[in-house]
Symmetry: C3
Subunit: 381 residues, 3 copies
């Protein structure tokens, strides 16, 4: 029994050969130096491996658009969840007033007809369901008749986007929280005064923390041409990045604004470019019949995307990475041995020293008796 | 001093014993082979450990629903953020026309009363706040009176969903961007022509990249029965997956569409199944009094979920994983030693060779003088 | 050729020195024990390293607000995507009836003027674009004239929030799915009955799984004072957490509700506190002119945030981590060697045993002939 315990508490360490060779010695230390540099410089300093991270940022965004144009801008805000992180600003509209449920000629060019044969009853057309009749569209042409909201919209009308939009301002209010560290912050830095906000406009140089953005600037920062964008509509992303090192002072945790065009495809691709949608305002006549104003709106949609990444010193990752670093230093030996035993003069002698003379061959596996001995050693004694 | 430097630049390597045993030799190589296979096959080829990844995909989604039915579909789109990644299609409605603020009997069956005693003044009922009176509901029954929009809605009416919805089409436009690699792409592949889009309909076999989806197909792909879904309402998820290996050609980075029912619970659970909501259209009489049309709408809601994962060759992960692979090959020795020293015939002899004769015991720790020697060695000399 | 193969299948193992020292033996075992404890206790039991994880939870949220107050609550729901994960409840309103497009004095105090000189034509004011005239605002003051919706809103009116909101109830329906494991679940636990839902109200003690939440309770759980919140408006986050160990029974996978104020900044920061937005209802006169009712609404916005994390046993991570554990046990030796060779009495003797006598020095690198030998050994023979 006792011998088992003494056996248990003996310590085995590898027997080493010391090689007094400048070449290999220097190579060895250089390799070790590289490994240490990697861990200190990259893993610890750059990647901050001594911190625990929180990327599951909680965020709430509120927005307000200010500006006046020939169109009533509320329409767009109305139909989008106010103050949410998506909103849009209408740049041009095609309005079809006083539509009522009824029968009228289809306006889409491809439904122009000579006679009823060309019109399939029950088949949906551009603005309603075909009745199968071919009726006069205007003095010169006839078109398939549809049932639906009449008169049908003519969306080929040329309208010019309203230039005022370029001077509209977007007010952004963003509060964030890193749950792991229970750290909350907002894009209104403590330094910002009521007075400043009244007057400021964001720009990338001087007013990098002003929460009010001029539409024209945002579009420009996203690398877009306002006139084109306003004409076809599009989606602009306003990204708010929170990269916070909570080991540093609280003031260092600031929002960073970046701007991109999200529907990039619209530019490349000729097929259905831009962004537009339809909505309607509903009214009732005295006799109770519904009528509506249909609006096809071209708009710039703004998506506010918030992302964040906070780090704070933590014991566990620090320890794990230090152990990793220490043990990794040993890796150098692998490389050095290859050199030592193959490329160095007198490699043969090194080999002789490193490897002991061989042992006669045994092919068969024994009936793992040895293992049981070890176990019973504890049990039986 | 000099001796310190020479000491510093000596190289230590472990002394090894060479065992000429087929058994252990083959086992050793096999184990090493397995480890190499794992790293090459799984870590590098399958997991692509040589790439840096970007999963923080930026996405913008635009949607348009086309179709005509007995209900005006815009209602639903109107109240949802157009073109956003959530939209719905109303399948059936219960409409209560000409409601005005006033007093009327509650329609919910559980508020039927014999006399005022059963009605609690001030307590909210189904459609308004109780006045405490018990008033005639119809020829046979009386019900508690409420204050609110009157007449109160009767939502027990049986209405059938409109079948046209099955043939409605959903137009999806999705642009994505992988910020790390500044790679942008859209679900309109370059191969897609204006002509194709006019005519195509998505299906899992031939038109896997057509951005137009028939509602009926989507519902079917999600494994749902349209009639049931349309009747009770529900939420369908349209998932767009972008798994892109940016080391391969650009054409290989394509969207993959999958469809699931998101409110799965609604199926299992009898308690409040399906999806419905209420909204109202507001009108004014000439005398200025407000009145409204209340609509209880059963709808299919579509949530478009975009996720992505792009990889591109990067030196750092490649190096790290190669080092890991090389060093891991050594692990085999651990296993082999156990076998060698326990299960092989003549293990005793191996032991004798591997372990050198023991050294007499020293219990006490010295006053760590040795360490200081080493340090002073540099300082003092 | 044959000799190459035999060479290939020889097995090298390190030669070890056995040290019969209680001190070092115990230290060695203790260190190994610590390492094993870390892996078993932390890595496997706490971090569940034997499971593969899925955090890409798919979720669908439906909400319904019930309650009656002096304001018609639908307004707010109307303009927000119903049943989506963001909705709001209006607590107070400033209503401006019968606005028409026209000319009227600006109501914002800072546009009070003595004469036209103070008013800049074309410049936007608070409620419209200035005409450049200075017109009577009331008996005593004059103000710059604007063009826009008139009469201009006076949003300095004191209104009190409606207390009824505190008793409104929020009905939450949340279905989730972990795609990796194709596991679906909902916040209506199987144990919940139709009867229970009719009557229950969520509370943190007894009814932790009731899906109906009283607004007052939610606000309280978020650590807010209802009266203040209702007065200025704000954003409350309702977080639903799904932490599921799918190796355990299905009943263990339950939702956990937590509540926070998301626009935390609003509290700290005096600049634009709270949450409010504007929207309008549009009407038409018989003569076709549009008029509207503008509403400035103070509201409590509720964002429902769902997050989840499911784990299930998986062979690959289990194996990898077990290998890591086994090999890590060896790390102890590094520490022990340092002690053995520096701090232990008789360290010199240990050194003598561990390190073999040195080998003469060779500076120059040979022309890597040795390597080629090895390779050709296979080719030529």
């Amino acid at each position: 029994m006792w011998s088992c315990i003494t056996d248990f508490f003996t310590y085995e360490t590898t027997k080493s050969v010391v090689v007094k060779s400048w070449t290999i010695g220097i190579i060895n230390r250089v390799v070790q130096l590289l490994i240490i540099t990697y861990f200190v410089g990259w893993v610890f300093l750059h990647e901050k491996a001594y911190q625990s991270r929180d990327t599951a940022i909680e965020s709430s965004v509120m927005t307000k658009v200010k500006g006046f144009g020939i169109y009533n801008n509320n329409d767009c805000e109305l139909v989008l969840s106010q103050g949410a992180s998506i909103f849009c600003i209408i740049t041009k509209m095609i309005t079809t007033e006083n539509q009522i449920q009824g029968f009228c000629p289809e306006t889409e060019s491809k439904y122009v007809c000579k006679n009823a044969a060309a019109c399939k009853a029950g088949k949906p057309a551009g603005n309603g369901i075909q009745t199968g009749n071919c009726v006069p569209l205007n003095a010169t042409h006839k078109s398939c008749e549809i049932q639906g909201w009449c008169p049908a919209e003519v969306d080929t009308i040329r309208t010019i986007p309203m230039p005022e939009v370029e001077d509209f301002t977007i007010f952004l209010k963003n509060s964030i929280r890193f749950p792991t560290f229970n750290y909350t912050k907002g894009n209104f830095l403590p330094t910002i005064t009521q007075q400043y906000i009244k007057t400021c406009n964001y720009d990338k140089v001087k007013n990098t923390y002003c929460p009010i953005f001029r539409v024209g600037d945002v579009v420009a920062y996203a690398g877009q041409n306002f006139t084109n964008l306003a004409n076809k509509g599009g989606v602009i992303g306003i990204k708010i990045g929170w990269m916070c090192d909570l080991d540093k002072s609280d003031d260092m945790c600031k929002p960073e604004y970046t701007f991109t065009r999200l529907d990039a495809m619209s530019q490349k691709n000729a097929v259905s470019p831009g962004y537009n949608f339809r909505f309607a305002k509903y009214y009732k006549m005295d006799n109770g019949t519904d009528y509506r104003t249909l609006i096809k709106a071209y708009a710039i949609r703004f998506d506010v995307l918030v992302n964040g990444n906070a780090g704070k010193f933590d014991m566990i990752p620090t320890l794990i990475n230090m152990v990793a670093a220490f043990t990794s230093v040993g890796i150098g030996t692998v490389l050095c041995d290859i050199i030592l035993l193959n490329f160095l003069k007198g490699a043969e002698q090194y080999k002789a020293k490193k490897f002991e003379e061989n042992i006669p061959d045994y092919i068969l596996l024994s009936q793992s008796s040895k293992l049981y001995d070890m176990i019973f050693c504890f049990l039986n004694k």
